[in-house]
């Protein structure tokens, strides 16, 4: 107790002392400052270091209305003349779409791209070959230069390094002799490498005139905003189509990997681009920040080698690049000789968040990609701060950055085709202006290549953004019944189907697509329904027409039906409520599966009852109307023609399409009855389904489709969605979807 008291006394004395000090401490400076303040009173607030404070009283406004009036009123020259004048002034390095691009070429036929015919004897790199064939395979391609809005050279301009074996000589003369060159107007030139040792300038070695550049490693100084396109540097092994998926398989928590930050690459002893790489060893700690450089490059590196070379080289050999790439949270991407390096795409694919150290690099597709969501943009001048910067990044942000790398990689970078298409889509967006994609369409799933603004510029009309906008899809659907046989009796399945579907509380409208050779039946022959029934006479009678984006579809959801499908109102109701939770997928009833047939080395198709599925038949399925548009415009004519000729596989193609967009399996829901060949199989099509040729065709289709997509987009699922009380041992009266269980 005594001791305690003593402490208390001491404590209170201390408190008093502190208080006294406070008094004094405030008084002293006050007395000192007082007079001096009064001295320069007139200047208080003006000396540097004084707080800026608002000036009281009324001041003049910065502009007056009358002033503007007199300024503006019709004094300026005709805006049309002014526009024309611009195109004369702003050329070359100051080119913009407004001054160097002829929009009128695109007005007539839309955005079409012409590729010059290849000349014999011209050598062409594989990469450029891939670029050209990607364009030729795209929906933008036109073989007629008269229809074209954009022109692509067949002369390889990818590698403009004079020392490179791929370098094409006399390009200047060759280009000038092209009859359609037109000073480069509406041309796009692809380039990966420019300049050479020692300074690696961005000069291509020929006059590009008014042409746009799609160039890798382009610097912000040379980049003409909204005119050029910055593309990523890709290697000659980059696949033409399909492309590898990202390496991320798990979202591990906490998201930190073995290393925090890694780099492994050359550093240059001579020439430009070596400053940053030479300084990396300052940050290297051989623990979780592993930045390795080697001096070994070129033949005579030893001539130039510096004091650190040997040490660096030994350290360099201790680590395996792949191992580091997969096991690091962040990957450093410092500039090399040129601003861009291969490290960038490698890191992106490996879900290793790129840390950019390349001042002045206009990042790939920077016009549309918000790189802050997928990379850390560092400053070469602040190299020493990089470790603390990346350490300060919160784990939630790492998780999100990492997922975004994967999304971007798969959406825009993993094949030459994607890179080329993205380039073309960017230019198309500029040309069409008011029908272009918003930032959100480019930067969120499924990405700009799958969201076509020609369908709608409103995010809410796509199946992908409901959650992001906090809205819901329209709570009704439109049924489209595909009819191929004539109407003979009132008891025909299609009649029953029409009545059952129209009875659904969620049904807004029924569209009958009359793809039958017989003339349209009279209106009164259709059963009376409470919702409007619209009969559309198919013009082509082709099977693909069932997936046309008809203007008469007023809802977001489409229920696609074959004429012989047997469905009850309850089943439809339930499927639609399920679809509302998964608006970006196909929700259907009978399911099919694919598998890899390793004997035949090809994809196999099965309609057997299996424990999993990867497709649902679109003879009875609900999906978003947007997929009609995608099917019609996104898919190449070759696949659609194939489907139309066989009158088969349209459902497989639709499943391929939707899964390649959503990267997810379709959803199978409960169906009431199950026949041998599911619900299909009463009338005309019974023969079709039983036909072995029919089955063989579908097998062929699978493989054709997979080769066009460049990969197998289908994904398996092992579950089916049933009503919550499905077949449970509880009173049937409790159940909302009773009919599904009744046979």
């Amino acid at each position: 107790m005594q001791a305690k008291k003593r402490y208390l006394t001491l404590f209170s004395a201390g408190a008093c002392l502190i208080l006294l000090f406070c008094f004094g401490g405030i008084q002293v400076p006050l007395s000192r400052r007082g007079p001096s303040r009064r001295d320069d009173h007139s200047l208080t607030g003006y000396h540097p270091g004084a707080r800026w404070r608002r000036f009281p009283g009324s001041l003049q406004p910065f502009s007056s209305w009358e002033h503007d009036q007199s300024d503006d009123h019709n004094e300026h020259i005709s805006p049309r003349q002014k526009r024309d004048a611009n195109s004369g002034v702003y050329t070359g390095k100051r080119c913009r779409m407004d001054s160097c691009f002829d929009f009128s070429l695109c007005a007539r036929n839309g955005f079409k791209v012409y590729v010059y015919p290849q000349q014999k004897g011209e050598k062409m790199s594989e990469s450029y070959q891939n670029i050209l064939s990607s364009i030729e395979g795209s929906r933008f391609y036109t073989p007629d230069p008269g229809q074209a809005c954009l022109f692509v050279l067949s002369l390889d301009t990818l590698d403009r390094d004079q020392l490179s074996p791929q370098y094409v000589h006399n390009l200047k003369a060759k280009i000038q002799s092209l009859p359609l060159w037109n000073g480069g107007r509406n041309h796009i030139i692809f380039n990966l490498y420019s300049g050479t040792w020692p300074d690696y300038t961005e000069d291509l070695g020929f006059d590009i005139g008014l042409a746009m550049l799609a160039k890798a490693s382009i610097s912000t100084e040379n980049f003409r905003p909204k005119f050029d396109v910055s593309i990523p540097l890709f290697s000659k092994d980059h696949p033409r189509t399909g492309g590898e998926r990202g390496y991320l398989k798990h979202n591990t928590i906490p998201p930190f990997r073995k290393y925090m930050l890694v780099f492994k690459g050359k550093r240059y002893l001579t020439g430009i681009g070596s400053d940053t790489r030479n300084a990396l060893y300052h940050v290297h700690n051989s623990d979780d920040v592993v930045l390795l450089t080697t001096c070994k490059h070129g033949k005579d590196w030893q001539k130039h080698k510096d004091a650190r070379c040997d040490k660096d080289n030994t350290e360099y050999d201790k680590y395996d690049y792949r191992e580091m790439l997969y096991n690091s949270t962040f990957c450093l991407v410092p500039r090399g000789r040129r601003l861009g390096s291969f490290r960038f795409l490698e890191a992106l694919q490996a879900a290793c968040v790129p840390v950019m150290l390349s001042n002045g690099w206009e990042l790939p597709f920077s016009e549309i990609i918000d790189w802050n969501t997928a990379a850390v943009i560092g400053d070469e001048r602040l190299l020493l701060q990089i470790p603390s910067t990346v350490r300060s990044i919160h784990q939630d942000q790492i998780l999100s950055l990492r997922q975004q790398t994967q999304f971007l990689w798969e959406a825009y970078f993993n094949s030459v085709e994607k890179i080329v298409l993205t380039t073309l889509e960017i230019i198309q967006d500029r040309v069409l202006q008011h029908t272009s994609r918003s930032n959100l369409m480019w930067n969120s799933l499924p990405g700009g290549l799958f969201t076509l603004p020609q369908y709608s510029t409103y995010l809410g009309e796509f199946p992908f953004y409901y959650a992001k906008l906090g809205i819901k899809p329209y709570p009704k659907f439109t049924a489209i019944i595909h009819v191929v046989t004539p109407l003979v009796s009132q008891s025909q399945p299609v009649m029953k189907l029409l009545v059952a579907v129209a009875k659904s509380q969620h049904c807004a409208q029924v569209i009958v697509l009359w793809n039958c050779d017989k003339p349209l039946p009279a209106k009164h022959r259709w059963p009376p329904t409470s919702v409007p029934v619209i009969v559309i006479e198919g013009e082509s009678k082709l099977i693909s027409s069932r997936f046309l984006p008809y203007d008469t579809i007023p809802t977001d959801a489409v229920l696609s039906l074959d004429e012989d499908t047997v469905l009850s109102t309850t089943e439809v109701d339930f499927a639609f409520t399920v679809w509302q939770s998964f608006p970006d997928r196909i929700v259907g009833y009978p399911a099919r599966s694919h598998f890899w047939d390793s004997n035949k080395e090809r994809w196999g198709y099965t309609s057997k009852w299996t424990n999993d599925y990867s497709m649902v038949l679109t003879g009875a399925a609900i999906y978003h109307k947007y997929y009609h548009y995608l099917y019609t415009t996104y898919l190449p004519a070759s696949l659609k023609t194939m489907v139309d000729q066989m009158s088969n596989c349209e459902d497989i193609l639709m499943n391929f399409l939707v899964s390649s967009v959503s990267k997810l399996p379709p959803i199978k829901v409960t169906q009431k009855k199950q026949y041998k060949e599911t619900m299909m199989g009463q009338s005309s099509r019974a023969s079709r389904w039983a036909d072995p040729d029919h089955f063989a065709q579908r097998q062929t289709c699978m493989n054709k489709f997979a080769s066009w997509f460049g990969t197998m987009p289908l994904v398996h699922s092992q579950m089916r969605l049933d009503p919550v009380l499905f077949k449970d041992q509880v009173s049937i009266l409790r159940k909302k979807y009773r009919d599904i269980e009744r046979l």
Binding site: W52, I253, R381, S400, K468, P723
Partner: protein, 745 residues
């Protein structure tokens, strides 16, 4: 025993389980208080109490005194302020510019942040915020005493600088500043003497070739050619300009800002609900070039009433009042009120690209139709103008009507809302404009801490209702790593061992983690535990809290977690394995067995918990549920409000809290798998406790209401489906099914 049943009661919820629930609570209560608080006060002796009171009053007095002294100097200063408030801009010190005073170079078009901006001045700071210094006001005159500017400090620039000095960016320490803002007003180039203004800039003490200096200009250029950027030579200074064209704008260096409209402050336009308006297109600008006016007239002829084409009123005298009126054929309309009557409002370029009318149009919630080729839209570096405006090339003016008609109604409504939000957030005052500009520059310097697209572009309504799932990538993780089962247990060893033995049969189990929540008793010896094929770890907790089950233990190395109670032995191996398979398809959701529902009780006017076997599901019980480990982290560190404490205090509702948390962040419903409706509690079934059942239901309902109020919304989503194996109950040989033994109710 009591603990057992209390816990079990929670699991079985609607089921029959009666035991001494109250007793268990009181047991906790006494346990808690005996070790802490209550003993302290009585032990204090009177003498000490007096002492404490004295000490307390001394400290209090001291504080008051300090407070007074703290306040006093301030009052002196504010007295000085008061006298200073009489200060006016005329008192600013006069600076005479010699004729030969140096002139800065014209702005370098090649300037970028990495070439013309000294980033070292900004340094590394944990707040990731730049420091901005404002030069004191000086009055610059030439040798003849003529001021460099006809207006001097304008009202708007005064507002702008004051707003910046009140913001977090401001510093009065010139040595710590990263960005410098001159007090020389260059908002309107017309009021400036170009050469002298440039000389004045160069005389600023820290000018240093304009490095890290920021100039605000809204009206650039002058007759006859109206340059689109400020003509004052300015070395490397950054320019926040209103009216940049693509040829003068240095992307990533300059900032494009709006032209402030004085009407923003003068006129209050209430926000209108988005929807169709009386007119479809409205043109209200007065200084439209005659060529364009002719085209607009032509459009009006074609489309009639849908267009309203206003001009200034010829019969009204000039002046401020005239600015507020517009006329059409002698009919007078109030401006800007009339803007609210139209869906789209035309904003055409004048002599300059930037038009103050844009601000008025946005304020009115009218969708701007911008016709100004090569114009860099205000703050376009961060704002997504496609969602708030329609940009049409000047050449296509004649097609305007057709283009606008093709825009879906829903989109027009969203644009109207977005337009108004842009005005409120970024246009409405000089403060908004100034702070936004600084924020944009700040984001460039600290890009890893930059504001996101959503933060910039989503209006509050959308921010509230939208979700950005943290696990947004559509990944179906491979089966191989399996899942980690986390068993929360207190002392029911026998039951625990049974659970362990049962779960160990599940093929994809990777690890078993037992969370031993009993501090008074040690877990059984290692040798007594069941022998299973996967690693088994026991972690002991410091306190008996329910939230311990959701802690993101380092021992959990898989993404998938199976939370399971120590009495859940009824789940079959197929059932669990299937649950895991479903989770793989929905890794961002809770995947559980018995489902529960929340309902709105109209009589009581509040939420109600429902455990009846309904057709709908909005929650799954976490007595056995799969979910992503991320949600453990979220539950432990990011649970809003005091929900965690509430759960620990009530020893209940941790599962409801988890359901709320996941639904709130993902916007998705949980997935109920298999027919399972309840977790049977074999020992308890004998006793039927209806009353207890009800208190339980009341408590759970209370939880829902509490959580909904903390979240500020009801995040739970109701669905009508559950997941079953593809061939569930199908007429198909059982042995060929992957999950034949899927369990019962």
């Amino acid at each position: 025993e009591s603990q057992t049943c209390q816990k079990r009661r929670r699991m079985t919820s609607g089921n029959h389980c009666k035991s001494s629930w109250d007793a268990s609570v009181s047991m906790y209560a006494t346990g808690k208080y005996s070790s802490r608080g209550p003993a302290l006060i009585p032990r204090m002796k009177t003498k000490h109490r007096i002492y404490y009171i004295t000490l307390f009053s001394v400290v209090l007095l001291g504080l008051i005194a300090t407070g007074m002294f703290q306040f006093w100097p301030h009052s002196i200063e504010s007295a000085a302020d008061w006298s200073l408030d009489k200060r006016s801009v005329h008192d600013a010190p006069l600076v005479r510019l010699p004729v030969s005073s140096p002139i800065p170079e014209r702005g370098d078009l090649g300037c970028r942040m990495h070439t013309c901006f000294d980033v070292y001045r900004c340094g590394y700071n944990p707040k990731n915020r730049i420091k901005v210094y404002i030069y004191p006001l000086q009055k610059f005159v030439d040798e003849l005493g003529v001021p460099i500017s006809s207006t001097g400090l304008s009202r708007e620039y005064n507002d702008l600088l004051s707003a910046i000095s009140d913001s977090d960016f401001y510093t009065d320490d010139v040595t710590r500043a990263c960005l410098f803002i001159p007090s020389i007003d260059v908002l309107n180039q017309n009021s400036l003497r170009i050469r002298e203004t440039a000389q004045a800039l160069a005389m600023l003490p820290r000018w240093d070739k304009g490095m890290n200096h920021l100039l605000f200009n809204m009206l650039p250029g002058g007759p006859p050619d109206y340059n689109t950027a400020l003509d004052v030579p300015r070395d490397r200074a950054l320019l926040a300009g209103g009216g940049f064209s693509t040829w003068t704008y240095r992307q990533g260096y300059d900032v494009s800002i709006p032209v402030y409209s004085p009407l923003s402050a003068d006129v209050e336009l209430p926000e209108r609900q988005p929807g169709p308006r009386r007119y479809f297109i409205l043109s209200s600008q007065t200084a439209i070039h005659r060529e364009y006016r002719a085209e607009l007239e032509r459009l009006k002829e074609e489309n009639g009433e849908a267009l309203l084409l206003l001009d200034k009123c010829s019969n009204l005298s000039q002046g401020a009042a005239a600015a507020r009126k517009r006329c059409y054929k002698g009919q007078v309309y109030d401006y800007p009120q009339i803007l609210q009557e139209s869906s789209f409002c035309v904003v055409l370029r004048g002599a300059r690209l930037g038009q103050a009318a844009l601000s008025d149009v946005l304020q009115a919630g009218c969708v701007p139709v911008i016709l100004a080729d090569s114009y860099i839209l205000p703050f376009s570096e961060v704002l997504d103008w496609k969602r708030a405006s329609v940009v049409i090339p000047e050449e296509k003016l004649s097609e305007m009507y057709t283009i606008l008609k093709s825009i879906p109604h829903r989109q027009v409504e969203e644009m109207q809302r977005q337009a108004r939000w842009f005005w409120e957030a970024y246009f409405s005052s000089m403060k908004a404009i100034g702070v936004t500009t600084l924020q944009i520059i700040n984001d460039r310097i600290y890009p890893y801490a930059a504001r996101t697209y959503e933060q910039w572009n989503n209006p509050p309504v959308v921010k509230w209702s939208s979700v950005n799932s943290p696990l947004f990538l559509p990944l179906i993780p491979p089966r191989a790593p399996g899942f980690t089962a986390v068993v929360l247990t207190y002392d029911r060893v026998e039951s625990l061992f049974r659970v362990i033995t049962e779960i160990s049969k599940v093929p994809s189990l990777a690890k078993l983690l037992v969370v031993w929540n009993n501090q008074n008793k040690s877990p059984p010896e290692e040798s007594l535990w069941p022998k299973i094929g996967v690693p088994l770890k026991v972690v002991r907790t410091k306190e008996n809290k329910l939230s311990n089950r959701f802690f993101p233990y380092d021992e959990i190395e898989t993404e998938a977690v199976l939370a399971i109670d120590d009495d859940i032995i009824m789940l079959t191996s197929d059932e669990l394995q299937f649950g895991y398979e479903v989770w793989r398809e929905f890794p961002d959701r809770l995947v559980g067995y018995p489902g529960r529902l929340h309902l709105w009780d109209h009589e009581m006017g509040k939420w109600k918990y429902e455990s009846e076997w309904t057709n709908e599901v909005s929650m799954v019980l976490t007595g056995a549920a799969f979910y992503h480990k991320y949600f453990n982290y979220l539950y432990t560190y990011k649970m809003p409000g005091d929900i965690k404490n509430w759960v620990d205090a009530h020893m209940n509702c941790e599962d409801i809290a988890m359901n709320f948390l996941v639904a709130n962040i993902t916007g998705k419903a949980p997935i109920k798998v298999t027919p399972r409706k309840k977790f049977k509690c074999p020992e308890c079934t004998a006793i039927d406790g209806l009353s207890l059942d009800q208190t339980h239901m009341v408590e759970r309902s209370e939880c829902i209401n509490k959580f909904a109020s903390v979240f500020g919304t009801m995040p739970l989503k109701v669905v009508e489906h559950r997941a079953d194996p593809v061939l569930y109950k199908d007429d198909f040989p059982e042995k060929l099914k992957s999950f034949p033994n899927i369990g019962s109710l």
